[in-house]
């Protein structure tokens, strides 16, 4: 009888623990939005031009109106939200395959703003040639009308390269 009570108690505690860990909160909402964006930009096959164009336009919905994306050295690229669809459509047209994975995020929330530091794993394929690697970025999120959107993307330079930005 005692063993049954202890077993039941442990089950309740484990259940409560799982519920607590998986409770919906801002961090979970941001993570969910982030995963949706990663899923959205994947390319494994070639859709029609119209579908690709529609997809490029829809990409903007993940970003605020004044959002800026800075990819970082050695050839720094800074684009605003209006330019994102064209850039994405270009990448989509050139690449045979595009896969982006998040290998870990650290999220810090403060009211309606949040900062996310993420390690990105990318795998690109162009005319049979494959390029892959790891990079770290910092994303600044804001909550607008209940939805978390990206305001700024900047490369996270844990290792600061003295030769960066001087490439020919």
């Amino acid at each position: 009888m005692k063993v049954k009570v202890i077993a039941l108690l442990m089950l309740v505690l484990v259940g409560a623990g799982i519920f607590w860990a998986r409770r919906p909160d801002d961090t979970a909402a941001i993570r969910k939005q982030w995963k949706a964006l990663l899923q959205f930009v994947q390319k494994e096959s070639s859709p029609g031009l119209l579908a690709a164009a529609a997809k490029a336009q829809e990409l903007q919905s993940f970003f605020t109106t004044g959002a800026v994306v800075q990819i970082g050295g050695p050839y720094p690229l800074s684009v605003g939200r209006p330019e994102l669809p064209a850039l994405y459509h270009q990448a989509w047209s050139y690449l045979d395959r595009m896969e982006l994975r998040s290998r870990g995020e650290d999220i810090f929330v403060s009211g309606d703003a949040a900062r996310m530091e993420v390690t990105m794993d990318y795998d690109l394929s162009l005319r049979g040639e494959r390029q892959s690697g790891l990079d770290a970025y910092r994303l600044h999120w804001v909550r607008e009308e209940g939805t978390w959107q990206i305001r700024l993307v900047e490369r996270l330079d844990t290792v600061r390269n003295p030769a960066a930005g001087r490439a020919p």
Partner: protein, 150 residues
């Protein structure tokens, strides 16, 4: 029952000590440390090695990236206070050429001198075939250097 429980606890502690700290397994991704570390190879990192001492020149170290699972693997070539430069592929420390026996191809990097600030280190990969501007290399704060790769 108690003996089994004790054995399980001991194994759990041993696994944590070895795999979590003393010899944390890591899969190498990328070619920046070729030929020393091969893409896809398995290595171990001593995550506690730097808790009680500073990193040393020549050591391969794990540098923390966001999230718990990813690290840069680089080699320390410059210590705090030193003036580090590259000239035609040669590493210069305070103006003097410093041998790098772990390299098979030193490349042709030429990089202006940089003084390593206090609390920071100069790290580079062993693969010098690509321009340094295109690599993850340079100055890193000590707090991001989390372990020694062996």
């Amino acid at each position: 029952m108690p003996k089994t429980l004790i054995r399980c606890l001991l194994w759990a502690v041993l696994t944590y000590v070895i795999a979590g700290g003393f010899a944390r397994p890591m899969r190498v991704r990328g070619i920046s440390m070729e030929p020393t570390l091969h893409d896809g190879s398995l290595r171990f990192t001593h995550m506690w090695a730097l808790k009680y001492r500073a990193p040393r020149r020549g050591e391969m170290v794990a540098i923390a990236m966001p999230g718990p699972r990813s690290f840069y693997a680089k080699r320390i070539v410059g210590l705090p206070g030193e003036r580090i430069a590259f000239l035609g592929g040669d590493l210069l420390i305070n103006g003097e050429a410093y041998p790098e026996p772990y390299l098979t191809d030193k490349g042709d990097w030429t990089v202006d001198p940089v003084v390593v600030p206090p609390g920071e280190y100069y790290v580079v990969g062993d693969n010098r075939t690509r321009p340094m501007a295109e690599q993850v290399a340079g100055l890193v704060e000590q707090r991001f250097i989390t372990g020694v790769i062996w």
